[in-house]
């Protein structure tokens, strides 16, 4: 039988198929002259809990809302860390440091969205509303969406403000209970955002106040469009935005929990930028020619805290000896893969309170062993190192770090046992003080050094569960409080240098490292800048 016709027709058929598929390939970004719609896609790591950072301190919520939807009265300059004007064009502090008067900018438009059309521009009422929501427990909006304001409560901002008054339409006066120089810095954090009072009134009248946090309205560079869980958050440009900005028309958070998938999407160009590359991915990103990796020292500290309420760790000599037994530089390579700098104190170098000439503990196992024996810690003494079970920038692998430290401690005659629990149990047991020592850390929320000194080591921070050393020193507390009575940086820096000296002498914790922060993006993306003081900002981000 002759089937030559069959062969020729099947050849024709398959060449047709190949042509079709090649046409499709032809639309790939490299070969097409067509520009995609104007927009930025950011592969983020998870679902935001709400669109109001007053309610949630998690980085995911902050990234998606703080600098996209909202503005603050004040902002941090990303380079110098200085406080600069935001919605408040200027401010005056009274001589006694108790009264702050803010002059507000005029003609600042709120977002006009599918669910809300503003009739007036931003004014003093919005500021009073936004502050009273978390400050005044009887405010109609205080209990909406749970009524918990974690950041504001943790720094005691609500109790610090005794009154907030509207002087006229564009002037607001805030009175404090006591002078506190970190007050302005707290107003510039990601959490001190300004909501629309008019929108809140409208929602209250409609009986749906909860919508204020799920369908947000602000004055920020992007307005909320839609959110689909596990899929995306969509923003449109706010056309009447008051600051300079890029011409980006759309901003999309592509929610991609897996970090390897985020990297894959970044490589194929489905994302323009990705959140949180892991340490093992950094080299891959550096090697790809179409990707850029920015790094900047972060405002964080990873440390090894000793439980100073348990003997023999109540002796400063023992704590110093233990710190001397560990080689920090070896930890830098093994745990951080070079993506961190060794810490000499709890303050990172990018802060103005950093003391460049601080002497950190030097690695000296012989002296350490001698000092331990002198203070009654015999050969074979057994202690626990608690290693936190989660990955954080300031300590990407606490378990491995604990294992390395175990070996160093064996050299000075100490048997260290590693302890770890599931994260929430871990923190609960730490709060009960069941540990001998713990590997943990801290990331700051604002540029003010008080944000390191106060939560990490003051007496009152033992109860609120951030002082892992359970160290309480009247002298130290006094220094930290005194520093806040002054507004000039040089004056405050004096007290902080004293505090750092005290920490190094007492060694309630051994500072280990300040980790870098990373931002990975494609080469054609412009204007991405790492914000060391909190959430990511897309205002100036565009594409070439």
């Amino acid at each position: 039988m002759n089937y030559a016709w069959l062969a020729s027709s099947s050849v024709m058929f398959f060449s047709m198929l190949v042509t079709i598929s090649l046409t499709l390939i032809g639309c790939s970004p490299e070969t097409s002259e067509y520009q995609q719609p104007n927009g930025i896609i950011y592969c983020s790591e998870g679902n935001p809990a709400s669109f109001n950072p007053q309610l949630d301190t998690s980085g995911t919520t902050v990234d998606v809302s703080s600098h996209q939807i909202y503005d603050r009265l004040l902002d941090f300059d990303l380079v110098t860390g200085e406080i600069i004007s935001g919605l408040a064009s200027s401010w005056i502090t009274s001589v006694d440091g108790l009264t702050y008067t803010f002059q507000l900018r005029k003609d600042i438009a709120f977002h006009s969205t599918g669910y809300f059309t503003p009739t007036r521009s931003f004014d003093a009422d919005d500021v009073v509303f936004s502050f009273n929501r978390w400050r005044d427990k009887n405010h109609p909006y205080h209990d909406v969406s749970g009524g918990r304001y974690p950041y504001i409560n943790s720094v005691g901002l609500g109790d610090l403000i005794s009154d907030i008054k509207r002087i006229n339409r564009y002037r607001v006066e805030i009175t404090l209970v006591r002078p506190e120089s970190s007050f302005l810095a707290n107003l510039a954090t990601d959490f001190s955002i300004i909501l629309s009072a008019e929108y809140a009134e409208k929602l209250a009248a409609a009986g749906t106040p909860d919508l204020i946090d799920t369908h947000p309205v602000g004055t920020g560079p992007f307005k909320f469009n839609s959110f689909r869980q596990d899929r995306y958050v969509r923003f449109d440009a706010h056309p009447e935005y008051w600051r300079e900005r890029s011409t980006t028309q759309q901003l999309i958070f592509d929610i991609t929990p897996s970090s390897s998938l985020r990297l894959a999407k970044l490589m194929t160009g489905e994302c323009d930028s990705m959140a949180f590359p892991t340490h093992s991915q950094l080299d891959i990103i550096r090697k790809r020619k179409e990707l850029t990796l920015d790094e900047k020292p972060g405002l964080n500290i990873g440390f090894w805290a000793f439980n100073t309420t348990k003997p023999p760790f109540d002796k400063p000599e023992v704590r110093r000896a233990l710190a001397m037994a560990i080689d920090k530089n070896a930890l830098m390579e093994a745990i951080y893969f070079g993506s961190a700098i060794p810490a000499t104190s709890i303050i990172p170098p990018s802060s103005w309170a950093f003391q460049p000439d601080t002497r950190s503990s030097t690695f000296n196992p012989l002296a350490a062993a001698k000092l331990l024996r002198e203070n009654g810690v015999e050969e074979g003494f057994s202690m626990t190192i608690w290693a936190m079970p989660v990955e954080r920038a300031y300590n990407p692998n606490a378990m491995k770090m604990a294992e390395l430290m175990q070996r160093y401690l064996r050299n000075v005659g100490i048997d260290a046992n590693i302890v770890s629990y599931e994260w929430s149990t871990f923190r609960a047991r730490l709060n009960q003080g069941l540990h001998d020592s713990v590997l943990i850390g801290w990331s700051a929320d604002n540029g003010d050094p008080d944000n390191f000194f106060r939560p990490l080591l003051t007496c009152s921070a033992i109860a609120s569960g951030t002082n892992r050393a359970r160290w309480c020193s009247k002298e130290y507390d006094k220094l930290i409080d005194q520093a806040l009575n002054y507004t000039a940086q040089e004056d405050r820096a004096y007290f902080y240098s004293k505090a750092i000296e005290l920490i190094n002498e007492q060694m309630p914790l051994m500072p280990i490292a300040h980790a870098f922060r990373y931002q990975a993006y494609r080469d054609n993306v412009t204007g991405i800048e790492i914000n060391p003081y909190g959430g990511i900002q897309f205002r100036n981000v565009g594409k070439q």
């Binding site: 039988m1 002759n2 089937y3 016709w5 069959l6 099947s10 058929f13 198929l17 598929s21 499709l24 390939i25 639309c27 790939s28 970004p29 490299e30 067509y34 995609q36 719609p37 927009g39 896609i41 469009n225 689909r228 869980q229 596990d230 899929r231 995306y232 969509r234 759309q250 999309i252 592509d254 991609t256 998938l261 894959a264 999407k265 490589m267 194929t268 160009g269 489905e270």
Partner: protein, 343 residues
């Protein structure tokens, strides 16, 4: 014919009844309050809870509860998702449409490729082409779907950069939801750059539909091949040759039709296999379909979503299978069961 229809409809109703009963008992089998598992409303006030309990007849017997549950199902109230808080009926119909769309295109691909190859192999029975195609089909058949998908991503997305690796369309195109089928939605939309959106959606379709189609394509090919071999060696074909028709005439006039008719239903039935494979591949390509949705629901212990999602998928597959079976029996009175044509 009426008998056939009656028999199938009653079978369908009975199985759907068992399915819905099973899905209802899931609310009791999952940990937690059955009412919460049914409605998906977790933090209702005491009053709200009482109203809900009344609506679902929670005080009544198990059977009356089940009756209320079925009523709610039919009125489109499938409960709320734990994780998103949105109505499940809408969530599931959206994701089911995405899965059906993906499976449909994959089915088309496997027909377009599998049928001609099957004919070729059948006509070249026990020749080199036949053996080569059979070998290829064994390889294609043995490759696990998820592995094929991952390899396709590695080569065509990450190395070559030809196709995207996630989603149905670039998020920069905001296609309004109408039918749930992305290509149709794009055509119906008034996007300014419709043509590019369409191309972009096609590019997103290529890798997932091809990786699902590989297995089905080999099955289609083998079924067709066997049927062609049988038909071409039958007496009437020999008779046609004897009458002096050319091989081309014999094949086109008698071969194609007679080879296809018995296997057509069997081929359509591949759709259910496809849907199952699509559910696996969806999670790899982040395709917003029902498979992906169910996996997420299982991870997040979203019991209402698991219950409703399973019910929706099994009801769809069941309805499809029984309908096709009915149609076959109506149009194939000789009772030539499609099983006769398996490879």
């Amino acid at each position: 014919m009426l008998k056939i229809i009656l028999r199938h409809v009653s079978l369908l109703i009975l199985t759907l009844f068992i399915l819905s009963f099973f899905s209802f008992s899931l609310a009791y089998l999952f940990p937690g309050d059955p009412l919460v598992n049914l409605t998906g409303i977790r933090d209702s006030s005491e009053q709200g809870y009482a109203i809900l309990a009344k609506q679902y007849a929670m005080q009544g017997s198990f059977l009356s509860q089940y009756w209320e549950y079925v009523n709610h199902l039919f009125s489109g109230n499938w409960g709320l998702s734990f994780s998103s808080g949105l109505p499940l009926a809408e969530e599931i119909s959206r994701s089911l449409a995405a899965s059906v769309e993906l499976s449909a295109y994959a089915l088309i691909v496997s027909f377009v490729v599998g049928l001609p190859l099957g004919f070729l192999a059948g006509l070249r029975h026990h020749k080199l082409t036949d053996f080569a195609l059979l070998t290829t089909s064994v390889i294609g058949y043995s490759i696990p779907v998820f592995w094929a998908a991952l390899i396709a991503i590695l080569i065509f997305s990450i190395q070559l950069g030809w196709f995207p690796l996630s989603g149905r369309i670039s998020l920069l195109y905001d296609v309004p939801y109408q039918t749930g089928f992305i290509l149709i939605d794009i055509l119906l939309s008034d996007l300014p750059d419709k043509e590019f959106a369409f191309k972009d959606a096609l590019r997103h379709l290529v890798l997932p539909s091809v990786s699902i189609a590989i297995v089905t394509c080999t099955i289609v090919m083998r079924i067709t091949r066997r049927s062609v071999v049988e038909v071409m060696s039958s007496e009437y074909i020999q008779a046609a040759y004897a009458r002096g028709l050319s091989p081309r005439q014999v094949f086109l006039r008698h071969g194609v039709k007679n080879a296809l008719i018995p296997i057509l239903p069997l081929l359509v039935m591949q759709f259910t296999t496809l849907l199952t494979n699509a559910m696996i591949v969806e999670t790899i390509f982040s395709w917003p379909g029902i498979g992906n949705g169910l996996i997420q629901a299982i991870y997040q212990r979203d019991f209402p979503a698991i219950r409703a999602g399973m019910l929706a998928v099994s009801a769809l597959v069941l309805t499809f299978t029984i309908t096709i079976d009915m149609v076959i029996q109506i149009f194939d009175p000789a009772g030539r069961r499609p099983e006769n044509a398996t490879s």
